[in-house]
Subunit: 308 residues, 2 copies
């Protein structure tokens, strides 16, 4: 059973050993910054109940995997998603374990990880980084997140929060601003790119407008998209220099703002004056679908031998 | 047997299972940018011969570890140290294996790693990060280098070059410069801090002068040291955000430029507006001595179960 807790929705489904979702098992409930803790807990209960009810007769549940928006605290099994204000130190692992207790065999794992970390495992399991020992999965969307495979294993970090690439510094500080005003997410995420374009005098309002402006050759739209992709490329170069990665898979809605977004990222990586080993990294399109948060949560069980 | 190949010297020694160098086994030969490939090979041969000759009767060599200035290429067992121009793709592992063949038992390991990576393993073996599963070792000196322990194991990366923290971007780009003019090493290493201070009108010439100026309260010297420590702190925050580290150990000559250098680094880490988990990292003084490159090379053999 896979559970995904995000800032706008909670989902659950049953996922088979090949990464396929079981028909009829997927359910979704909305969440939001205004949700109370009880409402969030009820949403989890409802989607889990729906998924478990779809377990075919004769099939056995082998475990439960939970991907959650972060930060998480694996030491205590709790989550404190930035955009779900009512949950601070919420014992999500314990709640899911209790909900599934009646159908889970004894000693079956109930595993919690950050959503970006789970996604990196999904990418390694059925996506674009299969067979790769050192890989980064990046999602460029409302925010910019990530997850890492190193030494052939998933990297969770001391408390489960490894992979937060959106919060590393890029050398692009606006005059007079703190260095932390120049993190990858601040420069490259969809809403932040739109905001930057509007500061330059652009009249659009959303990522879709930016996509249209890019195709039409609008000067500011083109500059804004390039600025985002360039920042992603610089972050990839920094992280690849630090970790000596083989492959970086890029997904997320905003990475599709232009057909050549990945080409722009690749150009940035190739132009970086770094050591040769850091330029060998392959930048590829994510091989995952919109089911990926659930596939990632399931991978925590099916690919448990890769957990760090 | 431990071998360390650096930009200014080659060393070898015998190292016991507790990390102690055997009396009389350590030897050193100078190297430099002008050395020919034959001169470098002869230096390696000489220090290895000296070390092997010190093997006490009845003692057995269990393996050879080699730490080298980078980049290295573990796929091919070669090294291309930036400051040793004559060696590009030099088969160092093969040379050391041949030199030690007569005294090495069959199947004994001959292991090559980047010097910073070896140092991180030494820090984990006998230094300041013992027992820590997610740790970074940083050396602030003529350059800025590093090495990583993640998931309780050494991180080598796809070709052996993980740990190059000196080449990640910091958000401190000088106006008009490329983003890559703002890497940690460019801002924080000893010679670069001295150069920056001189650009501000400071009259000293070396790190020692900067140390004296800092103690005397010279305004530019104080600003220069703080700028270096602050950049190290920002890099630590970026990397800790990405990798969720437990401990960062800092060593190297320039990290002793002021008594409070580590306090300045810690203040920078604490002031970073990052997620709470990234502020929990402990910044500690390296627990290693000037023997550390050799101890690190030996750790590649004695701590072989931690190799990634």
């Amino acid at each position: 059973m896979a559970v995904d807790v995000g800032g706008t929705k909670v989902e659950a489904a049953l996922v088979a050993s090949d990464g396929a979702l079981l028909d009829g098992s997927r359910d979704r409930r909305p969440t939001g910054a205004g949700s109370t803790s009880d409402e969030l807990a009820e949403a989890v209960r409802a989607v889990v109940a729906h998924a478990l009810a779809a377990l075919p007769d004769g099939d056995t549940l082998v475990g439960a995997g939970i991907g959650s928006a972060g930060p998480v605290d694996l030491v205590h099994g709790t989550v404190s998603p930035i955009n779900l204000h009512a949950w601070r130190g919420y014992p999500l692992r314990e709640q899911v374990a209790a909900l599934a207790a009646s159908v889970l065999p004894d000693a079956a794992p109930v595993t919690l990880r950050l959503d970006g970390v789970s996604l990196a495992l999904a990418e390694h399991w059925v996506g674009a980084t299969q067979g790769v020992d050192n890989a980064l999965a990046i999602t460029v969307s409302t925010g910019v997140g990530g997850g890492l495979i190193v030494n052939g294993r998933l990297l969770s970090g001391g408390t489960g929060n490894a992979g937060h690439i959106g919060q590393i510094q890029i050398a692009d500080r606006p005059a007079g601003e703190s260095a932390w005003a120049a993190t990858l997410e601040v420069i490259a995420s969809g809403p932040n790119v739109v905001a930057w374009a509007r500061e330059q005098g652009w009249q659009g309002e959303r990522g879709e407008d930016l996509a249209a402006g890019y195709v039409a050759g609008d000067e500011i739209a083109v500059a804004a998209v390039r600025r985002s992709a360039n920042a992603v490329g610089e972050a990839v170069s920094s992280v690849t220099t630090l970790l000596d990665l083989d492959v970086v898979a890029i997904g997320g809605g905003f990475s599709r703002v232009s057909d050549d977004y990945l080409d722009l990222v690749r150009a940035s990586v190739q132009e970086a004056p770094v050591n040769e080993y850091a330029r060998r990294v392959r930048v590829v399109r994510s091989g995952l679908s919109d089911e990926s948060p659930l596939v990632g949560a399931a991978a925590l069980v099916w690919q448990a031998d890769l957990l760090g």
